[in-house]
Structure formats: structure tokens, C-alpha cells
């Protein structure tokens, strides 16, 4: 049972990553991460 959940989990993870990446989510992450985040540093 556990191994089936693990396989399903990894399969879903791969599908999510590929789908999210191709629709441009990684660019949103990049854009947020390369600029100073005022919320993170306590000013926003």
C-alpha cells in the first residue's frame, strides 16, 4: 500500500512540476526571488 502511495505521489509531483513550469510559474518565483522582498525583511 505504502509503495503505491509513494509512486502515485512522485508521479503527481512530476506532473505538477512540469505543468507549473511550462505555464510560467517558475518565472514568477524567479522574479520574486531576485528582487528584495520588503515583506521578508520586515518593511512591506
Amino acid at each position: 500500500m505504502k509503495s503505491k502511495i509513494r509512486i502515485a505521489g512522485l508521479f503527481t509531483a512530476c506532473a505538477f512540476i512540469i505543468y507549473g513550469f511550462t505555464r510560467g510559474e517558475a518565472l514568477v518565483v524567479l522574479n520574486k526571488a531576485v528582487n528584495i522582498c520588503l515583506e521578508c525583511i520586515g518593511l512591506g
Partner: protein
């Protein structure tokens, strides 16, 4: 290698924690000018908590990234970050906290400061789930501005890693940022100081009470490939493992506890070698029966 010559988990883990800390924060020269690393690697998330506004950070923080995408104008759910968290969770569970998280290592070092060490009341353990649901999942999507953009509420009101790694280092480097300091910064500094003080007295205080990433990975401990087993043929019920565990877990009773960070301290202390920690199943019969 001879079984008796195996390195204890304590040493293997410390080595990997230091390597992970270095890999997550490799741009040390950026501290000088108070700049951030702006290369392509920052579109990928670190498995552990590490603020992307820290000048040395080479990757994105998964909790910051999740809030950023969920609260963005284009998307309201991040398949990308959720997929990464799912993959890390299924592969490693909370071993991410124990072996790879930079803020986890920092908390362990602070806990070494000589002081009376305390046990945590169980109720505090549930606080991190409230933080996850309210500050990471709900607020960034529910509270938006006129452009439809939400703010990362966990980063904004709580995250002590951001205040320490990003806030203090950038404020030291930029006078313009120092001039903008206000009530929000005071709130975050208070949380940071309380967290650091908590870590002196309680083992991994932040991980156990507030960390939303720990809350997520803990949910995977029941199914993660990297796991802990107690061999029922070898265990003599001495209780050493429970006494040693900094996270106050009894691995004999709850080997898959959401609080177990798979540190291996119990396996190192077990006199009969009953505890196995790793990717493969080793015991024919495991506890609890």
C-alpha cells in the same frame, strides 16, 4: 565498510547539514554590497527554509515561493511549488528538516548555548498547522490589493528566518532601507528575538511550533521513502531512544511521528542496534506490533 566502523548518524548528519547550508548560501560576497544573487538558479526552490532575500541565497525559499505564486495576479494555485514540496516530502519526509534545512542547523547551534533545557507542552506543536493554513495558504490568496495581488503573510508577519537572513543583513548595508523601518519591523524583530531565545531553552523551538514547512513535511512521514524502523526482534524496551530524542518522540511507539526529523540520535544510542534509518526496508518485523 565493517558494520562496527559505520559513522554515527550524528557525524554524517552534521556534515550534510553544513554542506546543505553552504550550497543554499554560496554567494557570501553579496553581503558586502547588500546585493542579491539574481541568476537563473533562483527559480528553483531549496528543500529547507532559507530566505531568498538573504544576499547569500542561491535558491528560492519554498514557503516564500508558494505564497508568491498563489498570491500573484496570473495564478491562484502553484502546481510548480506544490509539486516540488510533494516530491521532497515523498522522498524524504521530515528528513529535510533534520538533514538539509539551513535554519534547522542554526537552531541546533543556538541550542548548544549552556542553559537549563526544557520540554515543550504538546499544544504548541499544533500552532505550526494554524500558521500553515492561515498565513501561508489562506491570507495570500484571500487578501488582495486593487490589482488582485496578495501579500506573503507568513513572510510579512512571522518569518524569523527572513528577518535574520534578509532583514538584518540588508538593513546593515542600505541606509535607505534603515530609514523605512517601522512598526512591522519591530513586530518581526520581536518574533525573531523570542524565537532565538526559545531555541536556547527548547530543542528546535521554531521547527516545532511555527514552521509551516515542518508542518508540511511532517504529514509525509507516514509514507516517505526515507523512513525509520524499529526491529521488534532486537528491541529490549530500555527506553534510551525516547530519552535521547530532542523532538520528544518515542520511536518505538510512533516511528512515523510527524515530529520526527529523522536525525538518527535514537539509532546512535540504541544498545542493540534495533533502530534502522534509511531508504530501504531492513527489518522483517517492526514495532509497534
Amino acid at each position: 565498510m565493517d558494520k562496527n566502523m559505520k559513522l554515527p548518524f550524528a557525524i554524517k548528519r552534521k556534515l550534510l547539514q553544513i554542506i546543505a547550508f553552504g550550497c543554499s548560501n554560496s554567494h557570501l560576497l553579496n553581503f558586502k554590497g547588500g546585493k542579491l544573487y539574481t541568476g537563473k538558479w533562483k527559480q528553483f526552490c531549496n528543500p529547507g527554509l532559507n530566505c531568498y532575500s538573504c544576499p547569500a541565497a542561491g535558491f528560492a525559499c519554498p514557503i516564500g515561493a508558494l505564497q508568491a505564486v498563489n498570491g500573484s495576479r496570473q495564478f491562484s494555485f502553484s502546481f510548480y511549488v506544490t509539486g516540488l514540496l510533494l516530491a521532497f516530502g515523498v522522498l524524504l519526509g521530515r528528513a529535510v528538516c533534520g538533514w538539509l534545512c539551513p535554519f534547522g542547523l542554526l537552531q541546533e547551534l543556538i541550542h548548544k548555548i549552556p542553559s537549563p533545557k526544557r520540554k515543550l507542552k504538546k499544544g504548541f506543536l499544533y500552532l505550526k498547522y494554524v500558521v500553515l493554513v492561515v498565513f501561508v495558504l489562506i491570507l495570500p490568496v484571500a487578501v488582495t490589493d486593487y490589482m488582485g495581488m496578495g501579500k506573503p503573510a507568513f513572510c510579512q508577519y512571522i518569518c524569523p528566518a527572513g528577518t535574520l537572513e534578509g532583514g538584518l543583513s540588508l538593513l546593515l548595508a542600505h541606509e535607505s532601507l534603515r530609514k523605512a523601518v517601522g512598526g512591522l519591523f519591530s513586530l518581526k524583530m520581536t518574533i525573531l528575538v523570542l524565537t532565538l531565545l526559545g531555541c536556547v531553552f527548547f530543542y528546535r523551538f521554531f521547527c516545532r511550533t511555527l514552521c509551516p514547512l515542518g508542518a508540511i513535511y511532517g504529514l509525509f512521514n507516514k509514507v516517505s521513502i526515507f523512513h525509520l524502523e524499529v526491529d521488534s526482534h532486537k528491541c529490549v524496551g530500555c527506553g534510551n531512544c525516547k530519552k535521547t530524542c530532542g523532538m520528544e518522540v518515542d520511536p518505538v511507539k510512533t516511528p512515523d511521528s510527524a515530529e520526527c526529523i529523522r536525525c538518527g540520535a535514537c539509532a546512535d544510542t540504541c544498545p542493540t542496534g534495533a533502530i534502522h534509518l534509511g531508504f530501504s526496508a531492513k527489518c522483517s518485523k517492526t514495532l509497534p506490533l
